[in-house]
Amino acid sequence: MPILSIPKEPFGPAVMTAAPSAATRWRVRLTSATAFRIESLLALAVMTAVMTVAAWPYFLTVSNALNILLATSTLGVIAIGMTFVISSAGIDLSVGSLMAFSGVVGCLAVNNLDAPWPVGILACVIAGALAGAVNGSLIARAAIPAFIVTLGMLGVARGVALVLTKGVPVYGLPDPIVYLGQGRPWGIPAPVILLLATALIAHVVLIHTRFGLYAQVIGDNEGAARAMGVRVERMKVLIYALSGGLAGFAGLIFAARVNAGDPTAGSSYELTAVTATIVGGTNLFGGRGSILGTVIGALIMGVLQNGLNLIGVSSYYQQIAIGAVLVFAVWLNRLNRSEGRRR
């Protein structure tokens, strides 16, 4: 895996077999940042072309493109958090429920407790981050598998959201929050701008900070990370808190979009987010992640859903298509890697 082992040349057998130099280290960074999402970009292009033809003339318009981006925004933000988790060889199944939970908490804070709107915004993100930190603590310190802990949180957070709202959406948010979901600065829906900003920051964090590097190192080889002096337990708590916080942020965006705290928000988004992340080229077994890839992965899902909706394909077939795309994208990744480093 790329980070610690000496990387082989991506496009052919070894030219460079010497000890890792500054250049190789660069290539490692570049590899994790760019090279592995070429085929996802290709898949996105092919998909866009097919939809353009199949749903002519509705698909290729500015308003529809904005529609797709808007529809991808919450999923994209969640999938960005998921990228950190999966890079560290973990999994977070609670994100969809945390999105609902945080949105509800924020709405209740401003509606029932009359908190000012900035508190409402913070409440969403902090509620998600705290729940994520609970996930991380149980995983790192109680050594319960991530799958189990976050599956538990999936149930708990959804249940709490339903209890807090008695199952009925809480309608009505202050205007500044609603602007985050419905505003259109420069004609672009605000959630799209929030997604792009989140992606940009997350990209820098994953590629250029120690936090991002350590997350991938833990995913590559936890023992080696420990030997390097990485405080693995603390890192895991932070990684899951980040994932939860981003789920909370997505919950805020969604609540703002519909002007309500909806306890059923984000249902089954955990699987869609995992799909977007994997389709974007992040390694399911950790060690390598790409934020740009994840955004492309989320866009692939968005284009697919939007195009199939425009054509009028029933939601049953849509699920088949999404399943097929997941397997297909991972296969493409396989092909590329086995070509690069055939043993």
């Binding site: 290709l42 898949a43 979009r257 519909v258 309500a260 249902s267 089954s268 394909v313 493409l332």
Partner: protein, 325 residues
Amino acid sequence: MVRIITASASFAVLAAALGSSCALAADKPVYGVLMKTLSNPYWGAVEQGVRAAAKEADVEYFTLAAESDQAAEPQLNACNTMLEKKPVVMITAAINSTILLPCLNHANELKIPVIDLDGNLDPEITKKAGVEVAFHIGSENEAAGAKGADYVAETLGKDAKGAVLVIEGLSGNITGQKRARGFANELKKVAPSLTIVASLPGDWDRQKAANIANETLQRNPDLVAIFCANDGMALGAVEAARSAGKDKLIVVGVDGNSDAVKSVLAGRLNASVAQLPYLVGKEAVANAQKVLAGGKVDENIYVPTLVLTKAVLEAKKDPLLAYVK
């Protein structure tokens, strides 16, 4: 690299196969129909009604549905996508009272009339959100409950004495609450000596309703009737009652789904107050036509319900039976 290109090409073929042959001719006016999910037979029947009416009126319709009745945001996205096709009218069954509001607002701006199937939109909230709804159409749930009470009173006689159990839907769900309330209010009027000993949420769940029926029978052996807010729960309750040896106990459900019809014909379930989703879909399109032609329609349009009993089903005389699917 060659393999990657081959793979991409095969992917393109796959995608094209998925997307092909579905293009819609856009010369006729298109009615947009947005459902909750078609995996529920109720919405499937609504869609059949829409199809029949659209064929009659010679209009195109374009249906989308979410993958489940929990997939709120996907339904909002589908709604936005639908507006790209510039339908002449939007007939919607929102997953909850708030999810579609931004999309429906946009539809209003585009001067596309919005129609609410089955009262999923809350008039109070749509008013706050500034969404204008052309009309709400569906079954009147309180009236359905009341019809259940009428049936109980008719069967037992209006001076009958005894205990009655009500099993509501999911706690907090407005539909279940309305049916239970309609039943309770009407029962007080038509059979004042019958007393409701408990009104409990059965969460639309057959097993849970069976358990509630069992427990209540232990406590109130004088139970004479059970009203359930849907058929699934009624089927659970009737099996519990029969296995406890209570053959005379009257059990009434709401919906008129195919399982309930079978059970009624087999002489187990006493009655089901049938909703007529097929008629809901049909009438929605017919009234939408009126709106589009500039005519006036009622703000709330109620589609009748029908009490299905063994006698009614076997006589095959009621014209509304044609709409029971």
